[in-house]
């Protein structure tokens, strides 16, 4: 852009703002006319770029590029049914254990956190895409493992990114899918690297949206978002000990401590 073209809009702005004293209305009309002529003379690409920049600037009073705020979460109580979309969930209790059962490796530098509850599939088809694991998250807990046996322990600010592994309580087997119209007693399990578990935990229940994903046209239950939460105390239980083994002074000989 030449120096003359840069000065021209500044001169016009000054004329529009200040005017010239006597005969101001005549000068104002002349200033506006010159401004219109000046804008009209701009190349179309330049006008389009300025309009785009103006639209971006106008977003500032409306939040700009900040994340949209989530709707407030409902506070629920233990055993209260929370509808997430494809799953009806209840949360009953939280336990901490260094070895909840035979199928779990003993933890030396932390403990397992087990959130017990129930899950009932209300969708018509079998849920096979991790919806059951995404239905529950723990907030504000330091040292949660991102997912089982990855040894990637997260800071407290990223606790919501830790994905649990879900077990059926009745037979301690993995719950990788949820069929319609069956209610299971389940445990959502995390590994935590910490000297001791928290005294209480804020458990968040996430709801889903049924929509099509634009990237690959997959249609399913997407966008897990916290919709309800409750705070429950954490009860520490003794670790599982192999029957017949000599219990350590700190451990109870009671087996299958998954409850």
């Amino acid at each position: 852009m030449t120096v003359r073209k840069v000065r021209a809009p500044l001169r016009l702005l000054m004329l529009c703002a200040v005017g010239s004293g006597e005969g101001r209305s005549g000068n104002a009309r002349g200033s506006i006319g010159r401004a219109v002529v000046w804008v009209r003379d701009r190349p179309l690409k330049q006008l389009a770029a300025w309009l785009g920049a103006l639209a971006l600037a106008l977003t500032a009073p409306f939040g700009g590029w900040a994340d949209a705020s989530h709707p407030p979460m409902t506070v629920v109580t233990a055993d209260q049914v929370v509808k997430t979309g494809p799953i009806d969930v209840t949360i009953t209790r939280i336990r901490a254990n260094t070895r909840p059962g035979e199928t779990f490796a003993a933890m030396e530098d932390g403990q397992y956190l087990l959130v017990f509850g129930t899950a009932r599939g209300t969708a018509k088809t079998t849920l096979t895409n991790g919806e059951l694991a995404d239905a529950i998250r723990l907030d504000g807990v330091p040292g949660l493992e991102k997912s089982f046996y990855t040894n990637d322990y997260l800071p407290v600010t990223k606790a919501m990114s830790a994905k649990p592994t879900v077990y059926a309580v009745e037979d301690s087997t993995l719950m990788t899918a949820l069929v319609p119209d069956l209610t299971y007693e389940v445990a959502w399990v995390w590994r935590q690297q910490a000297a001791a578990p928290p005294s209480s935990i804020d458990v968040q229940v996430q709801g889903f949206t049924w929509r099509q994903r634009s990237l690959d046209d997959y249609t399913g239950w997407l966008d897990p978002t916290p919709t309800a939460h409750l705070r429950l105390p954490v009860e520490v239980r003794p670790p599982w000990v192999k029957p017949g083994a000599t219990p350590s002074p700190a451990a109870s000989p009671t087996p299958a401590a998954t409850s």
Partner: protein, 201 residues
């Protein structure tokens, strides 16, 4: 020169660009409306072909001949490596599979009803895997069902659960009335689930 002439000259200079832009946007909008209104042809064309049969008769799929020899149920099952219980019932289908090609097997098994419910393998199991082309295989599939009658129930068996486009699947009618479900719910089991066996025996 009047203001109208000035604007006419301004538009005349830029009219082609503006007009082209407007036409492109209008075409995109009209195209979007049309594609949203028309039915999705791909989902119809790609749907798996259904080969119907009954228990005891072979059904010819592209991966081989599938014969469901027996359907039973109980509240638990046990294999060589694990066992599972349920608050519902476990449906166990015994299958004879004669694979026609190297890539064969039955990794997809489901029970569906006329209301759109589909109960897939989920926590269940299929031992109909890794067969040998031309060698008969005797195997099982186990599917978890709720403890209630399922009207117009059908058993669906297919090679894979990853991609069903243009594939074929075996479909058999099932009788899952109250009496059957009650019998299975009263059977503690466990249903024995051995490894799949090969050969004619």
């Amino acid at each position: 020169m009047s203001a109208a002439d000035v604007w006419r000259r301004w538009l005349g200079g830029r009219g082609r660009s503006l007009g082209a832009g407007v036409l492109i946007l209008a075409s995109l909008a009209v195209g979007r409306v049309i594609t949203d209104r028309l039915p999705d042809a791909e989902s119809v064309i790609e749907k798996p072909i259904e080969r119907r049969g009954v228990i005891g008769t072979p059904i010819a799929l592209r991966i081989g001949d599938v014969t469901v020899t027996e359907v039973t149920g109980a509240t638990s099952w046990a294999s060589v490596s694990e066992g599972k219980r349920t608050q519902g019932v476990w449906l166990a289908a015994s299958i004879d599979l004669l694979p026609s090609r190297r890539e064969s097997g039955l990794s997809y098994a489901a029970v569906r009803d006329s209301s759109g419910h589909v109960w897939e393998l989920g926590r269940g199991e299929s031992t109909c895997k890794a067969p040998i082309a031309g060698v008969p295989m005797h195997c099982q599939v186990l599917i978890e069902l709720p403890r209630r009658p399922i009207s117009n129930a059908e058993l669906v068996l297919r090679w894979t659960n990853f991609d069903d486009r243009f594939d074929d699947q075996a479909v058999l009618p099932l009788t899952l009335d109250q009496a059957t479900i009650d019998t299975w719910a009263g059977t503690e089991g466990p249903i024995k689930v051995p490894l799949a066996t090969l050969g004619d025996s």
